[in-house]
């Protein structure tokens, strides 16, 4: 029988229902498994591969089970943040860079978002835990205390009905229950001073709407640093700011990093910011890492066609070109990713092998790795 408009509609709807049902079941399975684990004192301790790292992501997979299909937001990401270093994670919107950081903080939108596989090993100097399996009560001693986060929107991350002082105090008091009120207050003012706020006493009593964007971001940084974190996760810290204010904030972050000897995981789409701040760079595309290396590796010897395209498509001051290079096409739909390299449909240098399986990370030098078949001969593949 030939398919009419109505039978087609019925078939599509049936398929959608099936996808929805399957995803709901999967999601429920993860929730139940977590609930069962909660009762027992299961083993969430782990050991680092390299004790000099603060965080090691090992084959992290974070999926979102939605009614229209499973979104593989992060699909097998492996990288580490060494102690005292700044690691930049770059990529376009939807590449999974924010989900990677939210997985590290365990702030995923549950139950739809789940870490389905892999480990996030975090080392605080005395013990190593696997954040993916850490119970919630343990997580609260880590989150905000040992790993702090600076969010993108300083406008929406502060509560408009409380004073700045109250909000900074709260962060400090929560993580230091033995401090009394006066000590907390002194510490808050000290923090505000440290981030370069000219009259900290006045700002302490001010409400968020009285401050400019740059000042609010300084307050956010003060809150993040208040508990002497080992790692600062900065998710697009300067995207909402003007360039002159961005320069102030980046200068401040660089200065503070040396002062408190923390590591920074900097998530951004701005290649200029990464070049300026990061020691190591991770380039992500559609939930996977396509290239990683030191900043010099990535900016002076980019290997993956996506990295090359990204660098060429950005106009830069005092380097004139008649026409900008642009990567053709768009980022693929995160549901139904192909089996072959995700970048292949947009790649101008694809070869026969690109139709095969997804390329592994190929090590081309001591520090530089790339997931592309073009560089297979230059290096050694490894997991």
């Amino acid at each position: 029988m030939q398919e009419t408009k109505w039978t087609k509609r019925r078939r599509v709807r049936g398929y959608m229902k099936e996808v929805e049902r399957r995803n709901r079941l999967q999601m429920r399975a993860y929730v139940i498994r977590k609930r069962n684990e909660r009762g027992q004192d299961h083993d969430f301790l782990s050991t680092m591969k390299n004790p000099d790292n603060v965080v090691e992501f090992d084959n992290l997979k974070t999926y979102f089970f939605t009614d229209s299909g499973t979104v593989k937001a992060v699909d097998g990401v492996t990288f580490s943040v060494p102690r005292g270093k700044t690691v930049g994670v770059v990529g376009e919107s939807g590449c999974g860079k924010s989900v990677t950081s939210l997985s590290l903080m365990r702030l995923l939108q549950e139950p739809a978002g789940q870490i389905v596989e892999g480990e996030i090993r975090y080392n605080n100097g005395t013990r190593t835990v696997d954040i993916a399996r850490t119970p919630e009560d343990q997580m609260q001693t880590i989150r905000g205390n040992e790993i702090a986060m600076i969010f993108q929107e300083p406008m929406t991350s502060l509560n408009p009905v409380f004073t700045i002082g109250y909000q900074v105090d709260e962060a400090i008091a929560l993580h230091n229950p033995d401090m009394d009120k006066a000590a907390v207050r002194i510490r808050s003012v000290e923090m505000l001073k440290m981030v370069g706020i000219a009259r900290p006493e006045g700002i302490y009593r001010a409400y968020p709407h009285e401050l400019s964007g740059g000042m609010r971001q300084r307050v956010m940084i003060a809150m993040a640093l208040a508990c002497d974190p080992k790692l600062i996760v900065a998710d697009e810290p300067t995207t909402a700011l003007d360039v002159t204010v961005q320069a102030q904030i980046l200068d401040l972050m660089r200065h503070l990093k040396n002062q408190i000897s923390a590591s920074i995981m900097l998530i951004t789409h701005d290649l200029g910011v990464v070049a300026e701040m990061a020691d190591e760079v991770v380039v992500m595309y559609a939930g996977r890492i396509v290239e990683k290396g030191t900043a010099v590796d990535i900016f002076h010897n980019p290997l993956h066609p996506y990295t090359v395209g990204l660098l060429r498509s950005k106009p830069s001051v005092n380097r004139l070109t008649e026409r900008l290079y642009s990567i053709p096409g768009q980022v693929p739909n995160p549901i139904d990713m192909p089996d072959y390299c995700y970048f292949k449909p947009r790649c101008e240098r694809s070869i026969a092998k690109c139709d095969g399986e997804y390329p592994p990370m190929i090590r081309v030098s001591e520090t530089h790795e790339v997931a592309c078949w073009l560089h297979e001969k230059e290096g050694t593949p490894h997991a």
């Binding site: 376009e92 003007d242 320069a247 701005d270 900008l324 980022v331």
Partner: protein
């Protein structure tokens, strides 16, 4: 000397601040405070500055989307602020605007064909018989597929939506387009596609652009002349080459040096400005920039600097420079 398509003279736009029960006017936000510039036919003028400096307000007052407080704008020789509404209606198709956010500037309930074509029908740009064909032509020249004419905006990505916005502006056969941050909401790889599209359309249809952006590298790429704004005033203006190679005003220098360079081995000597941009409701006396200026002098807080114009068209408003030359 090419003919000027747009001539702006002493444009002023103040927004009243109302307060109290009676909503009495208690102050003025000086969004645009006496700005003059010309845009020659077929060229692109870039307008840069930080948020709140009045660059968007300039774009909107020129098109009479908001009424100006004082000044004049001549478009193809006609004074836009003096003509009656009926004449303005005839003029409107010739000057179009592309907005920053392609998500909120498209009606979610209208199919793409209607978004692009509504004004075409309203203004009678093409005879009714050729309407469908014209629509398809416009969509194709903006890189959209003509079979998408019945789709709704939510089915498109950010870059595609911006193409729809461009098609909507282009469909009226304009001569002048105000592009207000057209690529700021887009990813880097999509940004490049849209910038290239704007450049292609400019050479194909001989368009004139006023390109407003806070991204200096984009402005440098697309513009012929560049104006730098600070707190409602134009502090420096000139052709792209002279401005970017030899900036004169301390604010321009600071702005340019603040742009991060995508090269880890280059370390710029950066001029980091202190503090924030002052409120446009209470701009500082004298030179508006003197509160943050690294080279401020005693005169700066007393007198407003005059705009000095050099032979090569470079204009700067700063006490550091005299008429003889920089």
């Amino acid at each position: 000397m090419p003919e000027n398509l747009v001539e702006v003279r002493n444009l002023v736009k103040h927004f009243p601040i109302r307060s109290g029960v009676l909503q009495r006017v208690s102050g003025q936000v000086r969004a645009v405070d006496g700005v003059s510039f010309d845009i020659p036919k077929g060229s692109t003028m870039g307008l840069v500055g930080e948020s709140g400096c009045g660059k968007t307000t300039i774009g909107r007052t020129i098109l009479r989307l908001v009424e100006s407080t004082a000044g004049s704008v001549r478009f193809e020789g006609e004074d836009l602020f003096a003509i009656p509404r009926s004449r303005l209606r005839v003029m409107r198709p010739r000057m179009q605007m592309i907005f920053q956010d392609p998500y909120s500037s498209l009606s979610p309930r209208m199919p793409v064909g209607e978004i692009i074509g509504e004004a075409v029908r309203e203004h009678g740009i093409v005879p009714p018989g050729e309407y469908r064909k014209y629509l398809a032509e416009v969509m194709e020249s903006c890189g959209l597929q003509k079979q998408h004419v019945d789709r709704y905006p939510h089915e498109f990505s950010g870059g595609q939506r911006q193409r729809i916005c461009i098609a909507r502006a282009l469909a009226l056969k304009p001569r002048f387009i105000v592009a207000d941050e057209p690529v700021s909401a887009l990813d880097v790889s999509i940004q490049a596609q849209i910038i290239n599209l704007l450049k292609d359309l400019q050479s194909e249809f001989a368009l004139t652009y006023l390109f407003i952006s806070h991204d200096l590298s984009v402005v440098e790429h697309i513009s012929d002349t560049v104006g730098v704004m600070y707190l409602g005033s134009m502090v420096e203006m000139g052709n792209k080459k002279t401005i970017f190679e030899k900036p004169l005003h301390p604010y321009t220098k600071a702005l340019f040096s603040a742009v991060p360079v995508p090269d880890p081995l280059v370390r710029m000597d950066r001029v980091i400005l202190e503090g924030d941009i002052p409120s446009p409701a209470h701009p500082p006396p004298g030179c508006k920039f003197h509160t943050r200026c690294p080279n401020r002098m005693e005169i700066c807080s007393r007198e407003v600097p005059e705009t000095i114009r050099y032979a090569d068209g470079h204009e700067v408003a700063c006490h550091l420079y005299s008429k003889e030359g920089p």
